[in-house]
Protein backbone atom coordinates (compact mmCIF):
# COMPACT_ATOMS: atom_id res chain seq x y z
CA UNK A 1 0.00 0.00 0.00
CA UNK A 2 1.37 3.34 -1.01
CA UNK A 3 1.00 5.98 1.63
CA UNK A 4 0.11 9.55 0.74
CA UNK A 5 3.69 10.56 1.30
CA UNK A 6 5.13 8.14 -1.22
CA UNK A 7 2.48 9.14 -3.76
CA UNK A 8 3.56 12.76 -3.56
CA UNK A 9 7.22 11.89 -3.72
CA UNK A 10 6.52 9.68 -6.73
CA UNK A 11 4.65 12.59 -8.29
CA UNK A 12 7.57 14.85 -7.54
CA UNK A 13 9.90 12.42 -9.22
CA UNK A 14 7.60 12.31 -12.26
CA UNK A 15 7.34 16.08 -12.59
CA UNK A 16 11.05 16.41 -11.89
CA UNK A 17 11.98 14.08 -14.72
CA UNK A 18 9.48 15.74 -17.10
CA UNK A 19 10.99 19.12 -16.21
CA UNK A 20 14.47 17.76 -16.81
CA UNK A 21 13.54 16.45 -20.27
CA UNK A 22 12.11 19.86 -21.25
CA UNK A 23 15.15 21.72 -19.91
CA UNK A 24 17.60 19.43 -21.71
CA UNK A 25 15.73 19.81 -25.02
CA UNK A 26 15.91 23.59 -24.71
CA UNK A 27 19.46 23.72 -23.40
CA UNK A 28 21.38 21.47 -25.79
CA UNK A 29 21.00 23.54 -29.00
CA UNK A 30 21.84 26.71 -27.06
CA UNK A 31 24.88 25.21 -25.32
CA UNK A 32 26.05 24.02 -28.73
CA UNK A 33 26.11 27.58 -30.10
CA UNK A 34 27.87 28.76 -26.93
CA UNK A 35 30.42 25.99 -27.32
CA UNK A 36 31.01 26.86 -31.01
CA UNK A 37 31.57 30.49 -30.09
CA UNK A 38 34.47 29.49 -27.82
CA UNK A 39 36.15 27.15 -30.31
CA UNK A 40 39.36 28.22 -31.99
CA UNK A 41 39.17 28.55 -35.79
CA UNK A 42 41.18 25.34 -36.12
CA UNK A 43 38.86 23.42 -33.80
CA UNK A 44 35.70 24.22 -35.77
CA UNK A 45 36.25 21.05 -37.77
CA UNK A 46 36.26 19.04 -34.57
CA UNK A 47 32.67 17.84 -34.11
CA UNK A 48 32.98 17.19 -30.37
CA UNK A 49 30.33 19.02 -28.35
CA UNK A 50 32.71 21.01 -26.11
CA UNK A 51 35.82 22.82 -27.33
CA UNK A 52 39.13 21.17 -26.41
CA UNK A 53 40.59 24.63 -26.01
CA UNK A 54 38.50 27.66 -25.03
CA UNK A 55 39.09 31.07 -26.62
CA UNK A 56 37.58 34.55 -26.40
CA UNK A 57 38.97 35.28 -29.86
CA UNK A 58 35.63 35.10 -31.67
CA UNK A 59 34.05 37.62 -29.29
CA UNK A 60 37.04 39.97 -29.52
CA UNK A 61 36.83 39.71 -33.29
CA UNK A 62 33.15 40.59 -33.68
CA UNK A 63 33.05 43.26 -30.97
CA UNK A 64 35.88 45.18 -32.62
CA UNK A 65 34.45 44.88 -36.12
CA UNK A 66 32.03 47.44 -37.49
CA UNK A 67 30.28 44.69 -39.49
CA UNK A 68 28.74 43.56 -36.20
CA UNK A 69 28.89 46.48 -33.76
CA UNK A 70 27.06 48.87 -36.06
CA UNK A 71 24.22 46.39 -36.78
CA UNK A 72 23.99 45.69 -33.05
CA UNK A 73 23.51 49.40 -32.38
CA UNK A 74 20.99 49.55 -35.25
CA UNK A 75 19.07 46.65 -33.68
CA UNK A 76 18.96 48.36 -30.29
CA UNK A 77 18.00 51.78 -31.69
CA UNK A 78 15.45 50.57 -34.20
CA UNK A 79 13.95 48.16 -31.66
CA UNK A 80 13.60 50.80 -28.94
CA UNK A 81 12.13 53.47 -31.22
CA UNK A 82 9.70 51.09 -32.95
CA UNK A 83 8.62 49.66 -29.60
CA UNK A 84 7.99 53.09 -28.07
CA UNK A 85 5.91 54.26 -31.02
CA UNK A 86 3.97 50.99 -31.25
CA UNK A 87 3.16 50.93 -27.53
CA UNK A 88 2.01 54.57 -27.45
CA UNK A 89 -0.21 54.15 -30.53
CA UNK A 90 -1.47 50.78 -29.28
CA UNK A 91 -2.33 52.13 -25.82
CA UNK A 92 -4.45 54.86 -27.37
CA UNK A 93 -6.25 52.45 -29.69
CA UNK A 94 -6.62 49.79 -26.99
CA UNK A 95 -8.16 52.30 -24.60
CA UNK A 96 -10.69 53.22 -27.25
CA UNK A 97 -11.42 49.57 -28.06
CA UNK A 98 -11.80 48.58 -24.42
CA UNK A 99 -13.65 51.60 -23.14
CA UNK A 100 -15.36 53.73 -25.75
CA UNK A 101 -18.36 53.16 -27.99
CA UNK A 102 -17.64 54.25 -31.54
CA UNK A 103 -18.46 52.96 -35.01
CA UNK A 104 -15.63 51.19 -36.79
CA UNK A 105 -14.32 49.41 -33.72
CA UNK A 106 -15.10 45.99 -35.14
CA UNK A 107 -13.30 46.89 -38.36
CA UNK A 108 -10.22 47.99 -36.41
CA UNK A 109 -10.06 44.74 -34.42
CA UNK A 110 -10.59 42.65 -37.56
CA UNK A 111 -7.91 44.65 -39.39
CA UNK A 112 -5.47 44.14 -36.54
CA UNK A 113 -6.17 40.39 -36.59
CA UNK A 114 -5.58 40.29 -40.34
CA UNK A 115 -2.21 42.04 -39.95
CA UNK A 116 -1.11 39.70 -37.18
CA UNK A 117 -1.51 36.66 -39.44
CA UNK A 118 -0.28 38.54 -42.49
CA UNK A 119 2.55 37.01 -44.55
CA UNK A 120 5.35 39.59 -44.36
CA UNK A 121 6.67 38.57 -47.78
CA UNK A 122 3.48 40.01 -49.30
CA UNK A 123 4.62 43.42 -48.10
CA UNK A 124 8.29 43.11 -48.96
CA UNK A 125 7.87 43.67 -52.69
CA UNK A 126 5.62 46.75 -52.46
CA UNK A 127 7.51 48.22 -49.48
CA UNK A 128 10.83 47.78 -51.27
CA UNK A 129 9.45 49.69 -54.22
CA UNK A 130 7.73 52.38 -52.11
CA UNK A 131 10.71 52.90 -49.79
CA UNK A 132 13.09 53.32 -52.70
CA UNK A 133 10.94 56.05 -54.19
CA UNK A 134 10.58 57.81 -50.80
CA UNK A 135 14.33 57.46 -49.99
CA UNK A 136 13.43 55.40 -46.93
CA UNK A 137 15.29 52.38 -48.25
CA UNK A 138 18.29 51.42 -46.09
CA UNK A 139 17.41 53.91 -43.32
CA UNK A 140 16.26 53.47 -39.72
CA UNK A 141 12.73 54.81 -40.41
CA UNK A 142 12.52 52.35 -43.31
CA UNK A 143 12.59 49.50 -40.79
CA UNK A 144 10.93 51.29 -37.87
CA UNK A 145 7.72 51.95 -39.81
CA UNK A 146 6.99 48.31 -40.78
CA UNK A 147 8.02 47.13 -37.30
CA UNK A 148 5.50 49.53 -35.75
CA UNK A 149 2.81 48.18 -38.06
CA UNK A 150 3.53 44.54 -37.21
CA UNK A 151 4.00 45.24 -33.51
CA UNK A 152 0.74 47.16 -33.19
CA UNK A 153 -1.83 44.33 -33.42
CA UNK A 154 -0.20 42.25 -30.67
CA UNK A 155 0.16 45.31 -28.45
CA UNK A 156 -3.46 46.37 -29.07
CA UNK A 157 -4.76 42.91 -28.07
CA UNK A 158 -2.66 42.68 -24.93
CA UNK A 159 -3.45 46.22 -23.83
CA UNK A 160 -7.15 46.04 -24.61
CA UNK A 161 -7.44 42.84 -22.56
CA UNK A 162 -5.46 44.54 -19.80
CA UNK A 163 -7.52 47.73 -19.89
CA UNK A 164 -10.72 45.74 -19.42
CA UNK A 165 -9.50 44.62 -16.01
CA UNK A 166 -8.75 48.09 -14.70
CA UNK A 167 -11.19 49.45 -12.06
CA UNK A 168 -12.99 51.99 -14.18
CA UNK A 169 -14.89 53.54 -11.28
CA UNK A 170 -11.72 55.57 -10.80
CA UNK A 171 -12.11 57.05 -14.25
CA UNK A 172 -15.75 57.88 -13.58
CA UNK A 173 -14.78 59.42 -10.26
CA UNK A 174 -12.25 61.59 -12.06
CA UNK A 175 -14.80 62.72 -14.65
CA UNK A 176 -17.31 63.44 -11.90
CA UNK A 177 -14.64 65.62 -10.32
CA UNK A 178 -14.50 67.53 -13.61
CA UNK A 179 -11.75 65.80 -15.56
CA UNK A 180 -12.22 65.52 -19.33
CA UNK A 181 -12.06 62.02 -20.87
CA UNK A 182 -8.54 62.91 -22.07
CA UNK A 183 -7.44 63.90 -18.57
CA UNK A 184 -8.97 60.73 -17.18
CA UNK A 185 -6.90 58.80 -19.69
CA UNK A 186 -3.56 60.48 -19.04
CA UNK A 187 -3.83 61.11 -15.30
CA UNK A 188 -5.70 58.06 -14.01
CA UNK A 189 -5.65 55.23 -16.46
CA UNK A 190 -2.19 55.48 -18.01
CA UNK A 191 -0.37 54.99 -14.69
CA UNK A 192 -2.62 52.03 -13.85
CA UNK A 193 -2.00 50.61 -17.30
CA UNK A 194 1.78 50.82 -17.03
CA UNK A 195 2.29 47.10 -16.26
CA UNK A 196 0.32 46.14 -19.37
CA UNK A 197 2.36 48.58 -21.39
CA UNK A 198 5.60 47.04 -20.11
CA UNK A 199 4.35 43.59 -21.11
CA UNK A 200 3.43 44.65 -24.61
CA UNK A 201 6.67 46.63 -24.94
CA UNK A 202 8.72 43.51 -24.11
CA UNK A 203 6.87 41.42 -26.68
CA UNK A 204 7.07 44.08 -29.40
CA UNK A 205 10.78 44.60 -28.73
CA UNK A 206 11.39 40.87 -28.96
CA UNK A 207 9.57 40.83 -32.31
CA UNK A 208 11.76 43.68 -33.64
CA UNK A 209 14.91 42.05 -32.27
CA UNK A 210 14.06 38.78 -34.01
CA UNK A 211 12.83 40.12 -37.36
CA UNK A 212 14.85 39.00 -40.37
CA UNK A 213 12.93 39.24 -43.65
CA UNK A 214 12.40 43.03 -43.66
CA UNK A 215 15.88 43.49 -42.19
CA UNK A 216 17.57 41.86 -45.18
CA UNK A 217 15.10 43.17 -47.79
CA UNK A 218 14.86 46.84 -46.87
CA UNK A 219 18.55 47.46 -46.13
CA UNK A 220 21.67 47.24 -48.26
CA UNK A 221 24.54 48.29 -45.97
CA UNK A 222 25.39 48.25 -42.27
CA UNK A 223 24.01 51.77 -41.90
CA UNK A 224 20.56 50.31 -41.15
CA UNK A 225 21.05 46.54 -41.23
CA UNK A 226 20.10 44.92 -37.91
CA UNK A 227 22.08 42.21 -36.11
CA UNK A 228 20.17 39.12 -37.36
CA UNK A 229 20.59 40.36 -40.94
CA UNK A 230 24.28 41.11 -40.35
CA UNK A 231 24.84 37.49 -39.27
CA UNK A 232 23.81 36.32 -42.70
CA UNK A 233 26.37 38.62 -44.33
CA UNK A 234 29.33 37.66 -42.13
CA UNK A 235 32.54 36.53 -43.71
CA UNK A 236 35.66 35.12 -42.10
CA UNK A 237 38.52 37.37 -41.04
CA UNK A 238 40.34 36.13 -44.12
CA UNK A 239 38.91 34.27 -47.07
CA UNK A 240 40.47 31.05 -45.83
CA UNK A 241 38.77 31.00 -42.44
CA UNK A 242 35.14 30.02 -42.08
CA UNK A 243 32.96 32.54 -40.24
CA UNK A 244 31.48 29.78 -38.04
CA UNK A 245 33.11 31.00 -34.81
CA UNK A 246 32.25 34.70 -35.30
CA UNK A 247 28.67 33.84 -36.32
CA UNK A 248 28.26 31.66 -33.23
CA UNK A 249 29.68 34.41 -31.02
CA UNK A 250 27.35 36.98 -32.59
CA UNK A 251 24.42 34.59 -32.15
CA UNK A 252 25.29 34.29 -28.45
CA UNK A 253 25.58 38.08 -28.09
CA UNK A 254 22.11 38.66 -29.55
CA UNK A 255 20.65 35.83 -27.45
CA UNK A 256 21.89 37.22 -24.11
CA UNK A 257 19.33 40.09 -23.94
CA UNK A 258 16.55 37.60 -24.71
CA UNK A 259 17.63 35.33 -21.87
CA UNK A 260 17.78 38.30 -19.49
CA UNK A 261 14.33 39.45 -20.66
CA UNK A 262 12.63 36.10 -20.19
CA UNK A 263 14.30 35.54 -16.80
CA UNK A 264 13.29 38.93 -15.43
CA UNK A 265 9.87 39.24 -17.07
CA UNK A 266 8.75 35.58 -17.26
CA UNK A 267 5.46 36.25 -15.44
CA UNK A 268 4.60 39.26 -17.58
CA UNK A 269 5.42 37.53 -20.85
CA UNK A 270 3.38 34.46 -19.96
CA UNK A 271 0.40 36.52 -18.79
CA UNK A 272 0.66 38.80 -21.83
CA UNK A 273 0.68 35.92 -24.28
CA UNK A 274 -2.03 33.96 -22.51
CA UNK A 275 -4.42 36.80 -21.70
CA UNK A 276 -3.95 39.18 -24.58
CA UNK A 277 -3.33 37.21 -27.73
CA UNK A 278 -5.95 34.55 -27.25
CA UNK A 279 -8.99 34.34 -25.08
CA UNK A 280 -10.61 31.04 -25.97
Amino acid sequence: MATNLSVTSRQKLGWGSANTVAIVIVAIPILWIVSLSFKTPGAITDPSFWPAQWTWGNYKGILTSSTFVRPLLNSIGIGLIATSIAVVFASMAAYAVARLAFPGKRLLVAGALLISIFPQISLVTPLYSIERSLSLFNTWPGLIIPYVAFGLPMAVYILAAFFQQIPWQLERAATVDGATPWQAFTKIIAPLAAPGMVTSAILVFMFCWNEFLFAISLTSTTSARTAPAALAFFSGSSQFTTPTGPIAAAAVVITIPIIIFVSVFQRRIVSGLTSGAVKG
Binding site: K12, A22, W32, I33, L36, L114, I121, S129
Partner: protein, 315 residues
Amino acid sequence: MSTSTKTVAAAVPEETSARHRKPRRSPRARSERRLGWLLCAPAVIVLIGVAAYPICYSVYLSLQKYNLAFPNAVKFVGLSNYGAVLSSPYWWQALKVTVIITIFSVALELVLGMALAELMFRTTIGRGLIRTIALIPYGIVTVAAAYGWLYAWTPNEGYLSALFSNSAPLTSTVPSLAIIILAEVWKTTPFMALLLLSGLAQVPGVLERAAKMDGATVWQRFTRVTLPLMKPTILVALLFRGADAFRVFDNIYILTNGGNNTYSVSILGYDNLFSALNLGIGSAISVLIFLCVAIMAGVFIWGFGTKAPGADLVR
Protein backbone atom coordinates in the same frame (compact mmCIF):
# COMPACT_ATOMS: atom_id res chain seq x y z
CA MET B 1 -21.64 49.40 -36.15
CA SER B 2 -22.19 49.07 -39.87
CA THR B 3 -21.04 52.59 -40.66
CA SER B 4 -17.32 52.57 -40.28
CA THR B 5 -16.26 55.83 -41.81
CA LYS B 6 -12.98 57.10 -40.53
CA THR B 7 -13.40 60.79 -41.42
CA VAL B 8 -13.84 62.31 -38.03
CA ALA B 9 -14.93 65.84 -38.77
CA ALA B 10 -17.59 65.25 -41.42
CA ALA B 11 -19.09 62.11 -40.01
CA VAL B 12 -20.57 63.47 -36.83
CA PRO B 13 -23.30 65.79 -38.16
CA GLU B 14 -24.16 63.35 -40.97
CA GLU B 15 -24.63 60.52 -38.52
CA THR B 16 -27.25 62.38 -36.51
CA SER B 17 -29.42 63.12 -39.52
CA ALA B 18 -28.99 59.75 -41.23
CA ARG B 19 -29.96 57.58 -38.30
CA HIS B 20 -33.55 58.39 -37.44
CA ARG B 21 -34.11 55.23 -35.48
CA LYS B 22 -31.62 56.03 -32.79
CA PRO B 23 -32.46 58.72 -30.29
CA ARG B 24 -30.45 61.92 -30.42
CA ARG B 25 -26.97 61.39 -29.09
CA SER B 26 -26.00 63.21 -25.98
CA PRO B 27 -23.03 65.57 -26.25
CA ARG B 28 -21.11 63.15 -24.06
CA ALA B 29 -21.75 60.20 -26.40
CA ARG B 30 -20.67 62.32 -29.34
CA SER B 31 -17.45 63.39 -27.66
CA GLU B 32 -16.84 59.76 -26.76
CA ARG B 33 -17.06 58.74 -30.43
CA ARG B 34 -14.81 61.57 -31.45
CA LEU B 35 -12.26 60.58 -28.82
CA GLY B 36 -12.52 56.94 -29.93
CA TRP B 37 -11.66 57.90 -33.49
CA LEU B 38 -8.91 60.27 -32.44
CA LEU B 39 -7.26 57.65 -30.24
CA CYS B 40 -7.40 55.05 -32.99
CA ALA B 41 -6.27 57.39 -35.75
CA PRO B 42 -2.48 56.94 -35.37
CA ALA B 43 -2.75 53.14 -35.30
CA VAL B 44 -5.18 53.15 -38.23
CA ILE B 45 -2.95 55.45 -40.27
CA VAL B 46 0.08 53.20 -39.71
CA LEU B 47 -1.89 50.05 -40.54
CA ILE B 48 -3.31 51.60 -43.71
CA GLY B 49 0.01 53.10 -44.78
CA VAL B 50 2.13 50.03 -44.15
CA ALA B 51 -0.29 47.20 -44.83
CA ALA B 52 -3.47 48.14 -46.70
CA TYR B 53 -1.90 50.54 -49.19
CA PRO B 54 1.12 48.33 -50.02
CA ILE B 55 -1.16 45.36 -50.61
CA CYS B 56 -3.22 47.38 -53.07
CA TYR B 57 0.00 48.65 -54.66
CA SER B 58 1.16 45.05 -54.83
CA VAL B 59 -2.00 44.10 -56.74
CA TYR B 60 -1.30 46.99 -59.13
CA LEU B 61 2.37 45.96 -59.58
CA SER B 62 1.33 42.37 -60.20
CA LEU B 63 -0.57 43.51 -63.31
CA GLN B 64 2.51 45.17 -64.79
CA LYS B 65 5.48 43.86 -66.66
CA TYR B 66 8.10 45.41 -64.41
CA ASN B 67 11.70 44.31 -64.19
CA LEU B 68 14.02 46.52 -62.15
CA ALA B 69 16.79 45.76 -64.62
CA PHE B 70 14.69 47.46 -67.31
CA PRO B 71 12.87 50.22 -65.41
CA ASN B 72 11.76 51.97 -68.57
CA ALA B 73 10.00 48.93 -70.02
CA VAL B 74 7.06 48.95 -67.57
CA LYS B 75 3.77 48.07 -69.17
CA PHE B 76 0.32 46.78 -68.23
CA VAL B 77 0.01 43.08 -68.94
CA GLY B 78 -3.23 42.13 -67.17
CA LEU B 79 -3.22 38.76 -65.48
CA SER B 80 -0.32 37.31 -67.42
CA ASN B 81 2.05 37.45 -64.42
CA TYR B 82 -0.42 35.25 -62.53
CA GLY B 83 -0.55 32.94 -65.52
CA ALA B 84 3.23 32.77 -65.52
CA VAL B 85 3.40 31.99 -61.79
CA LEU B 86 0.55 29.46 -61.76
CA SER B 87 1.93 27.60 -64.76
CA SER B 88 5.42 27.50 -63.29
CA PRO B 89 6.60 24.28 -61.62
CA TYR B 90 8.61 26.44 -59.18
CA TRP B 91 5.45 27.89 -57.66
CA TRP B 92 3.84 24.48 -57.17
CA GLN B 93 7.05 23.03 -55.73
CA ALA B 94 7.28 25.99 -53.31
CA LEU B 95 3.62 25.59 -52.36
CA LYS B 96 4.10 21.86 -51.80
CA VAL B 97 7.15 22.46 -49.58
CA THR B 98 5.34 25.19 -47.64
CA VAL B 99 2.25 23.03 -47.07
CA ILE B 100 4.38 20.06 -45.97
CA ILE B 101 6.35 22.21 -43.51
CA THR B 102 3.16 23.86 -42.23
CA ILE B 103 1.24 20.62 -41.67
CA PHE B 104 4.07 18.64 -40.09
CA SER B 105 5.42 21.39 -37.88
CA VAL B 106 1.99 22.54 -36.66
CA ALA B 107 0.86 18.97 -35.96
CA LEU B 108 4.02 18.17 -34.01
CA GLU B 109 3.80 21.48 -32.17
CA LEU B 110 0.20 20.80 -31.20
CA VAL B 111 1.11 17.48 -29.57
CA LEU B 112 4.35 18.67 -27.96
CA GLY B 113 2.85 22.06 -27.10
CA MET B 114 -0.04 20.35 -25.31
CA ALA B 115 2.43 18.25 -23.33
CA LEU B 116 4.49 21.33 -22.47
CA ALA B 117 1.35 23.28 -21.53
CA GLU B 118 0.27 20.48 -19.19
CA LEU B 119 3.76 20.49 -17.70
CA MET B 120 3.81 24.27 -17.24
CA PHE B 121 0.29 24.16 -15.77
CA ARG B 122 0.47 21.19 -13.44
CA THR B 123 4.09 20.64 -12.45
CA THR B 124 4.41 20.88 -8.69
CA ILE B 125 8.08 21.73 -8.63
CA GLY B 126 9.98 24.48 -10.39
CA ARG B 127 6.97 25.96 -12.21
CA GLY B 128 8.64 29.36 -12.60
CA LEU B 129 11.86 27.79 -13.82
CA ILE B 130 10.14 25.62 -16.41
CA ARG B 131 8.16 28.60 -17.74
CA THR B 132 11.31 30.70 -18.01
CA ILE B 133 13.23 27.91 -19.75
CA ALA B 134 10.35 27.33 -22.18
CA LEU B 135 10.33 31.01 -23.12
CA ILE B 136 13.94 30.94 -24.32
CA PRO B 137 13.27 29.22 -27.68
CA TYR B 138 10.24 31.50 -28.12
CA GLY B 139 12.40 34.58 -27.63
CA ILE B 140 15.63 33.50 -29.30
CA VAL B 141 16.41 35.06 -32.66
CA THR B 142 15.36 32.49 -35.27
CA VAL B 143 18.46 33.16 -37.35
CA ALA B 144 20.77 32.56 -34.38
CA ALA B 145 19.10 29.23 -33.58
CA ALA B 146 19.11 28.29 -37.27
CA TYR B 147 22.89 28.72 -37.44
CA GLY B 148 23.16 26.38 -34.45
CA TRP B 149 21.20 23.72 -36.35
CA LEU B 150 23.14 24.36 -39.56
CA TYR B 151 26.53 23.80 -37.90
CA ALA B 152 25.25 20.87 -35.84
CA TRP B 153 24.31 19.06 -39.05
CA THR B 154 27.42 20.01 -41.05
CA PRO B 155 29.65 16.95 -41.58
CA ASN B 156 33.03 17.08 -39.80
CA GLU B 157 31.84 20.07 -37.78
CA GLY B 158 28.62 19.23 -36.01
CA TYR B 159 27.84 16.94 -33.10
CA LEU B 160 24.54 15.80 -34.60
CA SER B 161 26.12 14.94 -37.93
CA ALA B 162 28.85 13.03 -36.05
CA LEU B 163 26.15 11.24 -34.09
CA PHE B 164 24.61 9.97 -37.35
CA SER B 165 27.91 8.64 -38.76
CA ASN B 166 29.04 11.98 -40.16
CA SER B 167 26.06 12.31 -42.50
CA ALA B 168 25.28 15.42 -44.56
CA PRO B 169 21.47 15.62 -44.32
CA LEU B 170 21.30 19.21 -45.59
CA THR B 171 22.37 18.11 -49.04
CA SER B 172 19.20 16.24 -49.96
CA THR B 173 15.55 17.22 -50.00
CA VAL B 174 13.73 15.04 -47.47
CA PRO B 175 16.33 15.21 -44.66
CA SER B 176 16.63 18.97 -45.23
CA LEU B 177 12.88 19.39 -44.84
CA ALA B 178 12.98 17.25 -41.70
CA ILE B 179 15.68 19.52 -40.22
CA ILE B 180 13.77 22.67 -41.19
CA ILE B 181 10.69 21.21 -39.44
CA LEU B 182 12.83 20.26 -36.42
CA ALA B 183 14.17 23.83 -36.20
CA GLU B 184 10.64 25.26 -36.52
CA VAL B 185 9.21 22.88 -33.91
CA TRP B 186 12.02 23.55 -31.41
CA LYS B 187 11.57 27.29 -31.81
CA THR B 188 7.77 27.61 -31.74
CA THR B 189 6.47 24.78 -29.54
CA PRO B 190 6.71 27.10 -26.50
CA PHE B 191 4.52 29.68 -28.28
CA MET B 192 1.95 27.00 -29.03
CA ALA B 193 2.19 25.81 -25.41
CA LEU B 194 1.56 29.32 -24.10
CA LEU B 195 -1.51 29.74 -26.29
CA LEU B 196 -2.80 26.36 -25.08
CA LEU B 197 -1.96 27.22 -21.48
CA SER B 198 -4.57 29.97 -21.53
CA GLY B 199 -7.22 27.41 -22.52
CA LEU B 200 -5.98 24.92 -19.96
CA ALA B 201 -6.29 27.50 -17.20
CA GLN B 202 -9.95 27.99 -18.11
CA VAL B 203 -10.96 24.34 -17.75
CA PRO B 204 -12.83 24.20 -14.42
CA GLY B 205 -10.91 22.00 -11.99
CA VAL B 206 -14.23 20.80 -10.57
CA LEU B 207 -15.03 18.89 -13.76
CA GLU B 208 -11.73 17.02 -13.71
CA ARG B 209 -12.11 16.14 -10.05
CA ALA B 210 -15.65 14.92 -10.71
CA ALA B 211 -14.43 12.73 -13.57
CA LYS B 212 -11.68 11.40 -11.31
CA MET B 213 -14.25 10.54 -8.61
CA ASP B 214 -16.25 8.66 -11.25
CA GLY B 215 -13.18 6.56 -11.95
CA ALA B 216 -11.91 8.14 -15.18
CA THR B 217 -8.24 7.51 -15.89
CA VAL B 218 -5.77 10.33 -16.55
CA TRP B 219 -6.04 9.72 -20.30
CA GLN B 220 -9.86 9.64 -20.21
CA ARG B 221 -9.95 12.86 -18.22
CA PHE B 222 -7.68 14.46 -20.82
CA THR B 223 -9.55 13.28 -23.93
CA ARG B 224 -13.14 13.47 -22.59
CA VAL B 225 -12.99 16.54 -20.35
CA THR B 226 -9.98 18.74 -21.07
CA LEU B 227 -9.74 18.44 -24.86
CA PRO B 228 -13.41 19.18 -25.72
CA LEU B 229 -13.37 22.23 -23.43
CA MET B 230 -10.16 23.43 -25.04
CA LYS B 231 -11.42 23.15 -28.61
CA PRO B 232 -11.85 26.92 -29.10
CA THR B 233 -8.32 27.61 -27.83
CA ILE B 234 -6.85 24.85 -29.96
CA LEU B 235 -8.52 26.23 -33.10
CA VAL B 236 -7.17 29.73 -32.44
CA ALA B 237 -3.69 28.33 -31.75
CA LEU B 238 -3.83 26.30 -34.98
CA LEU B 239 -4.92 29.36 -36.96
CA PHE B 240 -2.14 31.53 -35.54
CA ARG B 241 0.63 28.98 -35.87
CA GLY B 242 -0.66 27.76 -39.24
CA ALA B 243 -0.52 31.26 -40.69
CA ASP B 244 2.88 31.76 -39.07
CA ALA B 245 4.30 28.47 -40.35
CA PHE B 246 3.02 29.24 -43.85
CA ARG B 247 5.33 32.26 -44.05
CA VAL B 248 8.40 30.19 -43.04
CA PHE B 249 11.49 32.04 -44.25
CA ASP B 250 14.31 32.53 -41.72
CA ASN B 251 15.09 28.87 -41.04
CA ILE B 252 15.09 27.91 -44.72
CA TYR B 253 17.18 30.93 -45.69
CA ILE B 254 19.92 29.91 -43.25
CA LEU B 255 19.70 26.12 -43.44
CA THR B 256 19.47 25.52 -47.20
CA ASN B 257 18.69 28.89 -48.80
CA GLY B 258 16.10 26.99 -50.79
CA GLY B 259 18.58 24.51 -52.25
CA ASN B 260 17.57 20.91 -53.06
CA ASN B 261 13.99 21.97 -53.76
CA THR B 262 13.42 23.13 -50.20
CA TYR B 263 12.29 26.66 -51.04
CA SER B 264 9.03 27.89 -49.52
CA VAL B 265 6.68 30.40 -51.15
CA SER B 266 8.30 33.20 -49.12
CA ILE B 267 11.78 32.22 -50.34
CA LEU B 268 10.46 32.09 -53.92
CA GLY B 269 8.95 35.57 -53.62
CA TYR B 270 12.17 36.91 -52.10
CA ASP B 271 14.31 35.40 -54.86
CA ASN B 272 12.08 36.79 -57.58
CA LEU B 273 12.52 40.25 -56.16
CA PHE B 274 16.20 40.26 -55.20
CA SER B 275 17.79 37.78 -57.59
CA ALA B 276 15.55 38.16 -60.64
CA LEU B 277 14.63 41.79 -59.84
CA ASN B 278 11.21 41.02 -61.23
CA LEU B 279 8.72 43.26 -59.41
CA GLY B 280 5.76 42.14 -61.51
CA ILE B 281 6.20 38.40 -60.94
CA GLY B 282 7.33 38.98 -57.34
CA SER B 283 4.16 40.96 -56.65
CA ALA B 284 1.97 38.29 -58.23
CA ILE B 285 3.60 35.75 -55.89
CA SER B 286 3.05 38.10 -52.92
CA VAL B 287 -0.64 38.45 -53.76
CA LEU B 288 -1.05 34.68 -54.17
CA ILE B 289 0.61 34.04 -50.78
CA PHE B 290 -1.69 36.61 -49.22
CA LEU B 291 -4.71 34.87 -50.77
CA CYS B 292 -3.53 31.48 -49.43
CA VAL B 293 -3.31 32.85 -45.88
CA ALA B 294 -6.64 34.66 -46.24
CA ILE B 295 -8.30 31.42 -47.39
CA MET B 296 -6.71 29.55 -44.47
CA ALA B 297 -8.05 32.15 -42.03
CA GLY B 298 -11.47 32.05 -43.70
CA VAL B 299 -11.67 28.26 -43.39
CA PHE B 300 -10.77 28.46 -39.72
CA ILE B 301 -13.11 31.30 -38.85
CA TRP B 302 -16.17 30.40 -40.94
CA GLY B 303 -15.56 26.69 -41.58
CA PHE B 304 -14.53 25.55 -38.11
CA GLY B 305 -16.18 28.40 -36.22
CA THR B 306 -12.93 29.62 -34.72
CA LYS B 307 -13.70 32.54 -32.50
CA ALA B 308 -11.41 35.26 -33.70
CA PRO B 309 -9.19 36.61 -30.96
CA GLY B 310 -10.34 40.03 -29.92
CA ALA B 311 -13.97 39.18 -30.64
CA ASP B 312 -14.67 39.41 -26.94
CA LEU B 313 -13.08 42.84 -26.87
CA VAL B 314 -15.93 44.17 -29.00
CA ARG B 315 -19.15 43.80 -27.12
